[in-house]
């Protein structure tokens, strides 16, 4: 029997971890993801999981322990945020390269300095080329469901790639809302057992991880990671449909809200999508053909799906919750690329919002749609809610 409880995004993720019952969790707490290892450590202390919980002295050690445990053949999970994610940076590409199917609760928080603790996406965006799958969740329910689904995606034999399950710091991680959870047995059956391909602990078939790859093979092994990403794009929906069969909830890689005939579309990720969808409903009632495209899977990036969802638009706004200082913000950069690949030269306006936890209000979304309707598209990025 599934059950419904009022819990936070962090607790929802920790509950999923309890049900997944990973072999190893190595974690070092940092706000706003602290609740995840904290809650999980209670499950360990209460004997509710069989996990080897490794308490380490830094995030660098946490992710290193995760990678080595995954190479040993274990099912591994962890969590972090912000500068903790930054300290792990060196090890993320190694996890990707070793094809360590770690499921990682990434609770988005601004990268210091200045120290801030609140939500934006600068931490995960710094890791977008690390060889990890990136999934961005809108609410606590989705964080729970995605954690369970991510195990299957990460460990799929044709993917074998670690997954970041991102949720917005404080907004989602600390906001309490009703979350429906599956019963333990259903989750256990859904995730199954990890069947590692080259586990270090298989002493009858010994392998070495981490040996030197000279100029003659480095490139080739990277190409295999590209293929794994291509496979993730192809295989994602099968996992999402299987999850729907046990949960009744379906999460496509792109959450296209009233975009079928939309002339004005706002593209956004994570919790801010809720605000945008409300404003879309409001504008639709007034006869404006508004839509919202929420990108749930950022890596691998679903270029074709994005171009298709935006194909009817007259003008598009892309909202980034991070900057690329001196460059183009990450989401708009990919969206423009998707449109160009599809030869769809639709005007795109780039907006940066919500840095360091700056609130995003319905009026902000209304103003963006007004810009689109009036054709106020400029080359430069615009800043929402900035004192100016």
């Amino acid at each position: 029997m599934s059950r419904r409880e009022i819990i936070s995004g962090n607790w929802a993720f920790a509950e999923a971890m309890r049900q997944i019952n990973p072999d190893v969790v190595a974690a070092y707490p940092i706000t706003p993801s602290t609740d995840i290892p904290m809650k999980f450590s209670e499950f360990v202390a209460d004997g509710k999981v069989d996990t080897n919980f490794v308490t380490v002295e830094s995030e660098h050690s946490a992710i290193t322990a995760c990678v080595t445990a995954a190479a040993a053949g274990a099912r591994v999970m962890t969590a972090s945020s912000a500068n903790g994610v930054g300290l792990m940076h060196e090890i993320f590409p190694i996890a990707g390269f070793f094809r360590s199917p770690i499921v990682f609760g990434l609770v988005n928080r601004s990268l210091g300095a200045p120290i801030n603790i609140h939500c934006d996406h600068s931490d995960s965006m710094g890791e977008r080329d690390a060889g990890w799958i990136h999934l961005y969740c809108e609410d606590a329910q989705e964080a729970y469901d995605t954690a369970v689904m991510a195990v299957r995606l990460a460990e799929h034999d044709n993917i074998l790639t670690p997954v970041f399950v991102c949720q917005d710091g404080f907004i989602t991680s600390h906001g309490f809302e009703p979350v429906e959870m599956l019963d333990d047995e259903t989750v256990k059956r859904f995730v199954g057992e990890r069947n590692a391909r080259y586990p270090l602990l298989d002493v009858k078939n010994p392998v070495t991880y981490g040996s030197f790859a000279s100029t003659e093979y480095y490139f080739e092994i990277k190409r295999q990671q590209v293929e794994a990403m291509e496979n993730a794009l192809k295989l994602y929906d099968g996992v999402a449909r299987e999850y729907e069969a046990v949960s009744g909830r379906y999460y496509p890689m792109l959450d296209a809200y009233r975009t079928e005939d939309a002339e004005f579309v706002v593209v956004v990720m994570s919790s801010a999508a809720g605000v945008v969808k409300d404003v879309v409903d409001e504008l639709r009632d007034k006869g404006v053909k508004a839509g919202c495209l929420r990108i749930r899977m950022f890596r691998p990036f679903p270029f074709d799906g994005v171009a298709k969802a935006l194909s009817h638009a007259k003008a598009i706004a892309v909202l980034d919750r991070s900057l690329s200082l001196g460059g183009t913000a990450p989401v708009v950069s990919e969206v423009r690329s998707a449109l160009y690949r599809a030869s769809a030269l639709i005007p795109v306006q780039s907006y940066v919002f919500g840095l360091g936890g700056r609130d995003f209000f319905p009026q902000n979304a209304r103003d963006i749609f007004t810009d689109l309707e009036k054709g106020q598209i400029v080359g430069e990025e615009r800043y929402i809610g900035l004192l100016e």
């Binding site: 390269f97 070793f98 094809r99 074998l160 391909r197 080259y198 078939n205 010994p206 392998v207 070495t208 991880y209 981490g210 040996s211 790859a213 000279s214 003659e216 093979y217 490139f219 080739e220 092994i221 190409r223 295999q224 293929e227």
Partner: protein, 111 residues
């Protein structure tokens, strides 16, 4: 993707898909890895001068010094020798001389 096998039996990959996933080396050994490719200087072993004291055999980091069943030095395995020159440096009889690989370029068919 290559199946589980001992790397000694593994053919040299010709296409990117043939390289073992995650760069794993099978059999927990680098036996099949041709470290000799890295060599820029080559040891020339003189059987006349060699007394088979086995200092080079003992110190070679790649176990590239070959011996026969009786423990006598028979030469240097160029598949593994990466040309560090430790053997030549340690040899009490100056039986090993290091020569630049460019001296052998013509024999190797380099252009």
């Amino acid at each position: 993707m290559t199946d589980k096998m001992n790397s000694a039996a593994m053919a040299k990959p010709k296409k990117w898909r043939d390289v073992p996933m995650a760069g794993v080396a099978f059999g927990a050994t680098a036996e099949a890895v041709e470290t000799g490719q890295w060599r820029s200087i080559r040891p020339l072993w003189d059987s006349e001068k060699c007394i088979s004291c086995l200092i080079c055999w003992n110190q070679c980091p790649d176990r590239a010094v070959t011996t026969d069943e009786s423990g006598k030095v028979t030469g240097i395995d160029e598949f593994y020798c990466k040309g560090c020159g430790i053997c030549a440096h340690l040899c009490p009889k100056d039986a090993i001389e290091m020569k630049p690989e460019t001296d052998f370029a013509a024999a190797r068919g380099d252009r």
